[in-house]
């Protein structure tokens, strides 16, 4: 069930250049079931910014009613969010959307988790759950540059982890796809979240695999009412069939929607 709650800031830290890790406390954590869901945040009491901001859930702790997000402070909204202090209140609408299906990876099988930049965060809770279930997890995490890298050790604790930077300042140089081929990684299930070109490349590269992609789109309501975030389906690329990223997604099965 979606809830709207004023959550309390438990911590907010800059963990990489302009990248913040924000932990909130609230009852709505009880509603968070799947990794890969997101919340819609009102970052200020004023009309500036007016709209909510969609941010993925990176870690869920239901025993303590806390959840963690990781975001890049870039525009007005995320910059304000980066300034929140312990004890401040953030208006949260969530959890929203459909996340990554953990059940699709069998215990003992291998899952490849590929993240790009600020698409990395939702993979963390996913990896925790897969690992817990006995799935072998491999992470390939791409960033622009060394300063932007976060959670390297945390992922490494859960499984094999490759860091890739576009400029080669940390880990391998290049794109995530280069590393997957170079390392000859083998896996049954692929979960990914990141920039659209990366998702597109991965979907094209592994047509025979079980692929799950998390999409981003500009949102209005975040709950399915405004038709801001629609995408077309691969079955009906020019008709009027559509999926809403906010409610049908953000995670889609490879081959389902046109990206």
């Amino acid at each position: 069930m979606i809830r709207n709650e004023e959550c309390i800031v438990l911590s907010n830290q800059e963990i990489a250049h302009n990248i913040f890790e924000l932990t909130l406390k609230g009852e709505l954590v009880q509603q968070m079931n799947e990794p890969g869901q997101f919340v819609h945040l009102k970052v200020s009491d004023s009309v500036d910014p007016l709209l909510r901001r969609p941010i993925s859930i990176a870690k869920i702790d239901q025993t303590k009613n806390m959840f963690t997000m990781i975001f890049r402070a870039e525009g007005t909204g995320t910059k304000l969010l980066g300034q929140k202090k312990i004890g401040d209140v953030v208006d949260v609408l969530g959890p929203l959307g459909n996340g990554f299906p953990v059940e699709e990876a069998k215990a003992g099988s291998t899952a490849l988790l590929v993240g790009g930049g600020i698409g990395v965060p939702p993979l963390y809770e996913l990896s925790l759950r897969l690992k817990e279930k006995g799935v072998n997890v491999i992470h390939v995490l791409g960033f622009a540059t060394k300063d932007a890298v976060f959670y390297e050790e945390k992922f490494a604790e859960l499984g094999e982890t490759y860091i890739v930077t576009v400029d080669g300042t940390l880990g391998e140089k290049g794109f995530v796809t280069d590393v997957i081929s170079a390392q000859n990684l083998s896996f049954e299930t692929l979960y990914t979240c990141g920039p659209t070109p990366m998702l597109r490349a991965l979907e094209a590269a592994y047509p025979e695999k079980n692929v799950y992609l998390s999409l981003e789109e500009r949102m209005g309501c975040g709950i399915g009412a405004c038709f801001a975030c629609v995408c077309r389906t691969q079955e009906d690329p020019t008709g009027y069939t559509y999926k809403k990223v906010c409610t049908d997604g953000p995670v889609f099965k490879g081959g389902e929607v046109l990206i």
Binding site: N4, V47, E217, R218, C221, C229, V230, T247
Partner: protein
């Protein structure tokens, strides 16, 4: 709650608050948050004869105290709206205002004829002012004669009263209002969005795939108030006001300007509970201001010789 009940052509409303078209889908999503029967009415998403996909994404962009949208009238088409959406809405005790759109005159007529027959549709909202579709829409909304003709034809086929939704993107809003009144409109709804645009600092290109979009939200409220103030003094049909409403105070301001009911659009995205909250706050505010009934507020900005309710309290 009788303090809030208002009667408009075709609409016996328990309160004058309703979500604006396009900002509430067909109600399903918001029914997760509250009982839709709380609402005075619901203006459902624009309906066209055939299903429409709408414009490419990005379809929304934020601006200072406002937002731009270029959804492009995406909707499942007349048949599905009737059979699935309106049928579903029938479980609630709330009269529906059906937003009617199209590209050609025939489209409007077809939708109006069919949708007005549905039992929970108590009024039509003729959307001649959508800025986000290439043909139709806003063309009908900027030329008085064209608007009048369309109104007349829709009136002929409609089984329920017809409200015409006016575009603010005109030189003379009063002229438009009078034209549709002359065409037989039972009421007006105003304002639709202002045409606006935002460019991306890095690419230099429009943020919206459609380039331009409709500006809504608090930023446009002063324009809405001005237009309702002017139009309400020149027509004899009621106005459902909208444009940037966020609070009970805003609702009263729209009434003062000349509105008889108020729709809430963008604010639903900010706070999904905004409509029931406003409905709850209105009686408190009316009491503070010294009004017995909300309809006493209508047109107070221009009506002469009325005692100030505030001093009466």
């Amino acid at each position: 709650m009788s303090q809030l009940a208002v009667n408009l052509p075709g609409l016996q409303l328990k309160n004058p608050i309703m979500p604006a078209s396009g900002c509430f889908g067909f109600g399903r999503e918001y029914s997760q948050f509250y009982d839709l029967s709380t609402l005075g009415s619901i203006m459902i998403k624009a309906t066209t004869v055939e299903p429409r996909f709408g414009n490419p994404t990005p379809r929304v962009a934020e601006t200072t105290a406002g937002m731009l949208n270029a959804i492009g009238l995406q909707n499942p088409g007349l048949k599905k709206v009737i059979n699935e959406e309106l049928a579903w809405l029938d479980q609630f005790d709330v009269p529906i205002i059906a937003n009617v759109a199209g590209s050609l005159e025939e489209d409007y007529i077809e939708v109006a004829r069919e949708i007005s027959k549905v039992s929970n549709v108590h009024a039509l909202e003729l959307n001649i002012s959508c800025p986000n579709v290439k043909t139709g829409g806003i063309a009908f909304g900027t030329i008085p004669e064209v608007a009048k003709e369309l109104t007349k034809k829709v009136k002929e086929v409609s089984s329920v009263p017809v409200y015409v939704k006016l575009s603010p993107n005109v030189s003379n809003i009063v002229e438009m209002a009078k034209a549709v009144e002359a065409g037989g409109a039972d009421g007006l709804t105003m304002i639709n969005t202002l045409i606006g645009m935002r460019l991306d600092l890095k690419t230099g290109k429009p943020v919206l795939a459609n380039n331009t979009g409709g500006l809504s939200g608090p930023a446009i409220k002063p324009v809405a108030i001005r237009m309702i103030y002017e139009v309400s003094q020149h027509v004899n049909i009621p106005i459902i006001g909208m444009g940037g409403v966020q609070s009970a105070e805003d609702v009263i301001e729209f009434f003062y300007a000349g509105a008889s009911a108020v729709a809430v659009g963008t604010a639903n995205f900010v706070d999904p509970l905004v409509c029931p909250k406003i409905i709850e706050q209105l009686p408190v505010l009316l009491n503070e201001l010294g009004f017995d009934h909300i309809s006493e507020c209508t047109g107070r900005s221009w009506k002469k010789n009325e005692k100030l309710a505030y001093h009466r309290a």
